[in-house]
Symmetry: D2
Subunit: 140 residues, 4 copies
Amino acid sequence: MERKPYVRKVNFYETDQMGIVHHSNYIRWFEEARTDYMDRIGYSYARAVAAGIDLAVVDAYMTYHSMVRYGESVHIYTEITELSVARMRLDYRVVDAETGVLRTEGYTGHCFYDGKKQVPVSLKKALPELYELFESLNFH
Amino acid sequence: MERKPYVRKVNFYETDQMGIVHHSNYIRWFEEARTDYMDRIGYSYARAVAAGIDLAVVDAYMTYHSMVRYGESVHIYTEITELSVARMRLDYRVVDAETGVLRTEGYTGHCFYDGKKQVPVSLKKALPELYELFESLNFH
Amino acid sequence: MERKPYVRKVNFYETDQMGIVHHSNYIRWFEEARTDYMDRIGYSYARAVAAGIDLAVVDAYMTYHSMVRYGESVHIYTEITELSVARMRLDYRVVDAETGVLRTEGYTGHCFYDGKKQVPVSLKKALPELYELFESLNFH
Amino acid sequence: MERKPYVRKVNFYETDQMGIVHHSNYIRWFEEARTDYMDRIGYSYARAVAAGIDLAVVDAYMTYHSMVRYGESVHIYTEITELSVARMRLDYRVVDAETGVLRTEGYTGHCFYDGKKQVPVSLKKALPELYELFESLNFH
């Protein structure tokens, strides 16, 4: 069970004139958390890309519960919530690092994509090792 | 009826190593399209902010249909699809400027927010002129 | 003589919690202005890239004279200030669109680079037409 | 003597279609390294901002020696190279985390600025503790 969060400090350049982290940064934090998640499970995203397979983003959603400010850090919890040979979905929960108060939740949907041939692929066929790893972590 | 699109040229810095516009840029394009929409209807977002009212983003969704590349431009169509005194939703349709092929669709949900008092407000009370303008454009 | 500026409206997401455009955005505006400059002189950057040649950035400088805020627009004046077969330099002057007050100045240095072979090239040999165009505009 | 580097992993969204980290990201990495430097010396940038004092950026320079790619990490070395009561300069050296190969060098110039009064200030008067800390580290 993957429970260790990705720890992220707010960068000053991510604030906006409302004095909070601009809402457009969370989709980037999700990508960082996803990459970190793959590092932790032992199959880096860079390795998948090097093997020719992208986790192309097909959709993304985020709902903003409370604001994050400069000087704060967040913990991002990532988990696989859907998986097929062609697609997967990851859910993210961003909480304040100190208090655990919920900041933002969301998900990203992905299809497995052969970057060179520019076609969707079955991950089970293209990278069976990664597929099995994802499957072992998808307990929904 | 608001039908004129926001025209947006791709910036080189918006591409990623897959050779396409990185998926995190569309939420920023939505903000640009929203701002442009307000300019067109005659009540700029800067004017709302100057009057102390933000359209704070409460959630956002995007679904990616086809890729946009450097050298291309897009047209973004914006419309109000939900409106109450406390909240609104805008939908966006990003199409290729030349062919009209659909690239990305999505929406942003907003609450009306008093930036100084840091509380949600009724737009009808806070900025009645803007509320009526939105209402006249919300034909769903 | 290239005197028409690139017109750029500030995006909300470019502001920071000091209430101004964050200083990291200007290097991106320079890129936009450079691209716009090439469009105006009749040889788009996308065309150079498609022909295999990048204007790889080798250094960049910016000096910030006064702040730009949300709701404002700027005019960016671009000109070629150095040119050889291997390298060039472009200077940028960012002024307020209404008052002409100087906001930021700077430059970017470039080498001509064959993206496929991953080697620096002579622009005079690689894209003579573009080299001659640059030369005709470099009156310093 | 401050010799511990800031460690930074490349984010996928920082790459461009040339397959490298886009040159506009380094000025943001400098800001992160500067913030990290202040954390290490025991006076966080957030604390200075909370006390009303910004290190407003007055100019910035970067020279790009070699490219950074996705999957890599860098070490960023920061040091104070100029200091007066009104201004300071920090220099940055970005090297590959594994090989130590130089990637990018640069600097940022700053003036001390009272964000509320919107005027430049003497750091020695405004935040003497921070000024003395900087002075003890400025060995050039």
